[in-house]
Symmetry: C2
Subunit: 351 residues, 2 copies
């Protein structure tokens, strides 16, 4: 990458917000912006298996570009999945139609944790690095590309439960009853994730997001005892100078602990007031969020009202990245995303 391109990326709205520098308006991107709500995505998905879409770099790049071709978004995020790491671990992974990911051989105890394959990230997940290179080359030179991974807790909870869960009983019981095995599993995931994120950075992403999507299931005491140190090790091992967004849902009771674990920007869902969240987080950290994805199922007027209400609460405090509180819902009309983009851009004019 030449110096001029590097400077343009560095000066982009998104990168400035990550560094908490003032911007004329907050940058905007959407979790799962390259997803099933897009007709062009559904078309491709009907022809190609989900895992193949991730594994073929030219397809992953194509999907990554879909939303930024349609909408004036301020960052792209590489198309991949937080569970890609499950496959090289040897637990069996499948994405069933409509039911989400399934792990065929869930990890339930010490023996299964010991038996996990050791993972050479470059070898087994190198296709993601290649997708990053292809995407970066095709992307507008001033548009930042975000890399990501699942946080160790969220990935571990899938490995243990085998699928999505309501109560996370098996995960919590593993923590309580076999803490040494639990910590071993977390350490293993952290080691892989460090290589995985730094590999994405080397391949060309400008920032990374760590998805601790299900961490909101934990009590603050359990988070501190079983998770915090592992997330902190991961975050502190990311190449210096690359912003880290630390995201979770249902974290209104965990914010201070997420902050303690690290991240330049803390991502929150809609179930907390952004002003309150930020004042609890304190200075020295940015915030990402936090429109309820359901609002995008309503009309343009409601989208505009709720978007402006969030922007008003933030009051141009530097370091805000506008996003949904969680992934965009598959039934979202594409016009709603356009309305959201307009509402964010329009507000800027009023400041």
């Amino acid at each position: 990458m030449d110096a001029r391109t590097r400077k343009r990326l560095h000066d982009s709205l998104f990168m400035k917000a990550c560094r908490r520098e003032p911007t004329p308006r907050p940058p905007l991107w959407l979790m799962r912006q390259a997803g099933r709500y897009l007709p062009e995505y559904r078309k491709l998905r009907s022809e190609v298996d989900f895992l193949q879409m991730c594994k073929r770099p030219e397809l992953a790049a194509e999907v990554t570009l879909m939303p930024v071709r349609r909408f004036s978004l301020d960052a792209a995020i590489i198309f991949a999945d937080i569970l890609l790491v499950a496959e090289p671990l040897g637990v069996g992974l499948n994405f069933t139609k409509g039911e989400g990911p399934v792990i065929y051989r869930p990890v339930r105890g010490t023996a299964e944790i010991e038996a996990l394959e050791s993972v050479d990230v470059a070898e087994s997940l190198g296709f993601v690095f290649e997708a990053v290179r292809v995407t970066r080359a095709a992307l507008a030179p001033d548009l930042p590309l975000i890399g990501f991974c699942g946080a160790p807790f969220t990935v571990a909870s899938y490995l243990v439960q085998g699928c999505g869960s309501k109560h996370y009983e098996r995960t919590k019981l593993l923590m309580y009853e076999a803490p040494a095995a639990w910590h071993k599993l977390m350490e293993k995931l952290v080691r892989i994730s460090i290589d995985y994120l730094n590999g994405q950075i080397e391949a060309g992403v400008q920032a990374v997001q760590i998805f601790d999507s299900w961490v909101g299931a934990l009590s603050p005491a359990d988070y501190r005892k079983y998770v915090l140190e592992h997330s902190r090790t991961l975050i502190s091992s990311i190449k210096s100078g690359v912003p880290v967004i630390h995201f979770g849902t249902g974290t209104a009771g965990l914010l201070e602990l997420l902050r303690e674990a690290g991240g330049d920007v803390i991502g929150v869902d809609w179930r907390i007031d952004l002003g309150q969240a930020w004042s609890r987080l304190g200075d020295g950290v940015g915030i990402q969020g936090n429109l309820d994805p359901v609002v995008l199922l309503g009309g343009a007027e409601e989208i505009r009202r709720q978007t402006h209400s969030i922007l008003k609460a933030v009051n141009n405090r530097p370091g805000h990245i506008f996003n949904l509180g969680h992934g965009i819902l598959l039934q979202t009309p594409v016009e709603s995303v356009a309305a959201l983009v307009d509402a964010v851009h329009e507000h800027a004019g009023h400041v």
Copy 2:
């Protein structure tokens, strides 16, 4: 009720904690303490339909008494269901085995809200009042009996969705797109709930709990706009002098607003530190909670550790009612409840 019995109830641990008077240890009861984890409950349930168990006062009383016969709990809660109100509203209600409640004719718009039957509470829910009378007569005279209802939002969300929901899309869209109809529905539910709770009080309960179990799905802004005033009307219409416990899950971002809506005691789940929650709630209100129900699936040692950790965080501040953060899980071993009771009692000795 004679004056001596009234005095004994008034001086019970539970009632003192509701009034934030000092107690030698916090009182303890468990949400869904009369439920499927009890073998005697499962036996009865295998013979009688769930709705019939609620509707036959001698059975409801029998079930209410089951847990307090087994364990040294400090309050009983009348056996009923927050959705009993759905039947007289004319929307069709069934409790399917293993799948939870189902509403056959969900309420999706203005016309359906207008078409809801008007409810004479004494006539259509009088069986609950009778169950309270039978239970009160059979219960130890110093053991308080708790009445309850679903909060208007949580009941409305079931009526609109038709069953449990992940995203509450239909409920939120009704709010956004037909706010007048939404408020009409909420007002209707509040009117019924006022008569229903005051009727339970007249029949003999000493305190009431309002279950806003799913309110944590809302953003604070939506809660304020669409819910707060209705919960406030309900709570402020409860017979003076009767403590109200205002409970919800996933409310770490809503606490101040729940407090604003009212209640002598705020019930929280395990996803917030009890000390932090209470300091945000301020003086003048008690707190109920907040052990993670999954902990009861672990061994006695873990139960003891987590129970003591909560008690330590509260540090004998008057007004704490010990409870789980949500209903007891059906796979909970009865020995775990015994271990929890012991842990709470034992801690008292250490203070």
